[in-house]
Symmetry: none
Subunit: 133 residues, 4 copies
Amino acid sequence: MKLSSALSMLDAALAEAKRLELQVCVTILDAAAWPMAFARMEGVPLGVIDVSRKKARTAILFHMDSADFAVLGRPDGEAYTLENTNDGLTSFGGGILLRNTDGTVLGSIGVSGAATPDDIAIARVAARTLADI
Amino acid sequence: MKLSSALSMLDAALAEAKRLELQVCVTILDAAAWPMAFARMEGVPLGVIDVSRKKARTAILFHMDSADFAVLGRPDGEAYTLENTNDGLTSFGGGILLRNTDGTVLGSIGVSGAATPDDIAIARVAARTLADI
Amino acid sequence: MKLSSALSMLDAALAEAKRLELQVCVTILDAAAWPMAFARMEGVPLGVIDVSRKKARTAILFHMDSADFAVLGRPDGEAYTLENTNDGLTSFGGGILLRNTDGTVLGSIGVSGAATPDDIAIARVAARTLADI
Amino acid sequence: MKLSSALSMLDAALAEAKRLELQVCVTILDAAAWPMAFARMEGVPLGVIDVSRKKARTAILFHMDSADFAVLGRPDGEAYTLENTNDGLTSFGGGILLRNTDGTVLGSIGVSGAATPDDIAIARVAARTLADI
């Protein structure tokens, strides 16, 4: 993933959050889970910074959206405690895996700060800009 | 446990995973929970590295397979939160305790990356090479 | 500091690095040392991510540019080992303290990836956009 | 870098150490600093495990051998405290950057446990197997 693509996603996420009158943090990671871009909107509680990071981290480390990961890692899931690995993962939505049109994993985006369905919606709007390129 | 034994186990685990057309990470720890050998197959999501380590760690730290640990360390288990000790343990299978023929604890092996029953099967094939020596 | 100001600084730093045909990471922190914005250009070695963060952190935590901090926090400086506090600080240039026209501390910017004088120059170009607002 | 290449390097390093009647740990990381393979010989003090890891980490995170990094990160180097970033780096030899014949960065190898010149020599013997492939 190029930095220009990451910055376009960042812009799209921030614009969508603004349109919905919500405040979020956005973290974009590359395919090896290293940070590419990050932004925090005014008014977001500080703990949300790490939540956006962990959502993105969960998605890229296990090649699935964090909402899907949530099914596995819970007490009644087939891999209870999986959420305790890798310095703690995130068992709720807002972390989205980014793939190329040919299926190659490109990285992930994590959005946090609003209600979970809104976080997911914002992340999806951002991810779509990647497909447009 | 000798390094040669650990490397034989590693080879056996990788060969069995390849035979089953699966991709896994394999961690082998000594009786004091320190790493002896590790390998990661291509195509395994990066989060799995730490899962294989934690499975092996769970087995050696409590002298039981991680599948047995899973019965204890979960919300309805008799030692709920035990899984949160030691920087986080693993309440599902794939970590196997390694003993000598006389019962002496030698170390542990952790396999992760496939479905849990496959991870367990691969770890068992590897552990068997140890008994053969 | 507003997010719009942080993003303008980020853009200015990336544009200046591009103009100089250099690759850098840029971290912008608020007055309480929490991250506001970050970007990593392609081709930057991964260790540089944390260096840009630590440069910005050094500047905001001690209210001085990291180049000035370097005089204090080194074996022959008057506060040797100060660089070991706060999980490790950075005794070389590229972290710049950001102040309002009235002297109020707004945050800091850390640039890393090029030679130290270039990192400093890029950080200064970025910081100037803040004064223009 | 393929796992087969990493395992060949591991074997070569262990064989060379054995030939020299030395005991070492060997860590092999991919281009994004994630572990690919590891082995520890009998008789190596346990602290050496992390040293081999940090040597390899230093090489890949800054795209240079850890012996070259040592010149930068020392008190009289141009980037004093650089060794404090990324959870602590290693300012002495034994971590070697691995490149493809076309210069592409493939990963790194870290060898530790013997005297530094021997660690370097063993790492170089191992790295050469990569070029042979």
